[in-house]
Amino acid sequence: MSIDKDTVKRVARLARLSVTEEEAESLKGELNSILNWVEMLNEVDVDGVAPMTSVVTQEMKKRDDVVTDGNYANLVVSNAPASEENYFMVPKVIE
């Protein structure tokens, strides 16, 4: 598998990363060498083997339906670059 420069730029845009033409060119090389390396896994025959979801056999932990958290809006927004009355403020996004 190999990806071209346009794919690199598209993936970067989806991840909201800004990359220059030169960076895209060099990232293309880096990403392709990573993909080629991972490609080695295709040599393993996994027919009839279920995807591994955990290294230990355990059941998913579940919570009871009880309110145990929240009511600290001031802390929630305390790292925000801008906030007002415990709302996050972000550059205007509207259709």
């Binding site: 598209r10 579940k62 339906d65 958290d69 929240g70 415990n86 996050f88 205007k92 996004v93």
Partner: protein
């Protein structure tokens, strides 16, 4: 039957068929969120019902709320659907300020509930079966407000992480009427089950509606998605508009662009939301923070055992055990509380008579005054007592309506009111005969005329009822009049 063709839309160049599929989002009824311990309560101060998990602070891990799992299974059982004992959670990646994780935890390839079916009983008596493709659990996003500041949007994460069930239908819906009926039925089902409050005004139930048109028998056309519909009436209006818009384009030789559109209820039209189109690339992958969700059949059976009677089963019972007309049964089971009210009125009484009174008089009045069923000034016992008085022949149907009015506005025991106000029907033939004799004596002209024209007997009946203040038994009046006038 004309039903198949009546659903088609007439265009300038012939008939068109509209094809609709719906994705309904219903908020799961639970105290806490899907993957955190903060509250799901509607409203509240900004960001008050938010934990560090919901705000996606680094290092926070999701732990599933088991009640949400149970609610999803219950809903699946209510949709007669396949329950999947093993399902997976995936990340659906996109950027938006009200989505702090940068992804929504959802279920993609392996949902908790598979195929099911919903039956619609249409007003004209037709039964329509709509396939359900799947139901999966996912997180709701936060809420952005754009009108608080000139250059900034405000974000409140109280909704962030609340559990939603997304219920996806097959493209089996063929008219706006069916789409409305499907949404209504889905809301009835989740309300019966108690798995969602189905409150569309508060946004706890909403739908994305996929609409396309085609010539009957042709393959599916290109669809447009009408986003975020939160009113059953608007769903109907939006589909009507959208289908005609698409037909107009196709008949003019154009083609439909697959896109997301919004319905504007004020203008009664749909418009494109083009900006969202560019990057529908969600790059789903299994969420590494969550193990597969697994349970055994016994777990499902335990939940099945405790399910309440569902609307379709109740409808069948009303028809087969109580002998109700199918239409009336459908009306009565539309809400669990309405059905319970009816059953209380009908117990030990003529069920069809009870249904007529509950639907025509009582429910009609409730709707006219925009009351909630619980706010009715007439209780099931009072309505039952009115019906008993009719059955016993104490009052006529017409007087019963007056009595209902009195009980509605003033309250009281119907039997006592009838006694006190002298509303009892006169079945004493002697008394009725006396009235009739007097009227015949006073109106010799009419007596002559009625012999020529027997339909004039109605005039006499009217006079008798007037003289008796509506209390004379109509059957008795008719019979005696016929005898005396020699008709």
């Amino acid at each position: 039957m004309a039903e198949a063709s009546s659903k088609l839309i007439k265009g300038a160049t012939g008939d068109w068929e509209v094809v609709i599929g719906m994705e309904i989002h219903a908020q799961v009824a639970s105290e806490a969120k899907l993957f955190s311990g903060s509250s799901t309560k509607f409203g509240g101060e900004a960001n008050a019902h938010v934990s560090f998990v919901d705000a996606a602070m680094p290092g926070m891990l999701p732990v599933i709320n088991e009640e949400c799992v149970r609610q999803a299974i219950r809903t699946g059982l209510g949709l007669k659907a396949k329950i999947n004992n093993r399902s997976l959670f995936d990340r659906k990646n996109y950027f938006y300020p009200d989505l702090p994780q940068g992804y929504q935890i959802s279920q993609y390839k392996d949902p908790i509930v598979g195929e099911g079916e919903v039956v619609l009983y249409m007003l004209d008596g037709e039964e329509v079966r709509i396939g359900v493709e799947r139901l999966h659990l996912e997180q709701d996003a936060g809420k952005s407000m754009h009108d608080q500041h000139p250059t900034m949007s405000f974000v409140d994460l109280n909704r962030s992480g609340v559990a939603l069930m997304e219920i996806v239908s097959k493209p089996d819906i063929r008219s706006s009427e069916e789409a409305k009926a499907y949404m209504t039925k889905m809301r009835t089902i989740v309300r019966y089950l108690g798995t969602s409050d189905g409150n569309m005004e508060e946004g706890s139930m909403r739908a994305d509606v996929n609409v396309s048109v085609r010539r009957p028998g042709d393959p599916l056309g290109t669809r447009c998605e009408l986003k975020n519909m939160n009113s059953i009436r608007f769903i109907g209006q939006a589909i009507e508009y959208e289908a005609r818009r698409q037909i107009g384009i196709l008949e003019d030789g154009g083609s439909i662009d697959q896109e997301t559109r919004l319905y504007d209820p004020k203008k009664g039209e749909t418009r494109s939301m083009r900006s969202k189109e560019e990057a529908h690339d969600y790059r789903y992958f299994p969420d590494p923070d969550l193990l597969p969700l697994e349970f055994d059949d016994a777990y499902v059976e335990e939940l099945r055992k405790d399910l309440p009677e569902l609307p379709d089963d109740k409808r069948d019972r009303f028809i087969s055990d109580l002998g109700l007309k199918p239409y009336d049964a459908s009306v009565l089971v539309a809400s669990k509380r309405l059905a319970a009210f009816f059953e209380k009125v009908a117990t030990g009484r003529d069920a069809q008579l009870a249904a007529n009174w509950v639907i025509n008089e009582w429910l009609g009045r409730i709707n006219k005054e925009s009351l909630d069923i619980d706010q009715s000034p007439v209780s099931a016992d009072q309505l039952g007592a009115i019906i008993d008085l009719i059955k016993a022949g104490d009052i006529s149907g017409k007087i019963a309506k007056d009595l209902f009015e009195i009980v509605w506005t003033e309250g009281g025991d119907p039997a006592k009111i009838v006694e006190e106000k002298g509303m009892k029907q006169v079945t004493d033939t002697g008394a009725i005969e006396a009235i009739i004799d007097e009227i015949i004596a006073k109106n010799p002209d009419q007596v002559e005329k009625v012999k020529e024209k027997p339909s004039l007997i109605g005039w006499f009946v009217g006079q008798v009822m007037k003289a008796s203040q509506g209390k004379a038994n109509p059957q008795a009046v008719n019979q005696i009049l016929k005898d005396k006038l020699g008709l």
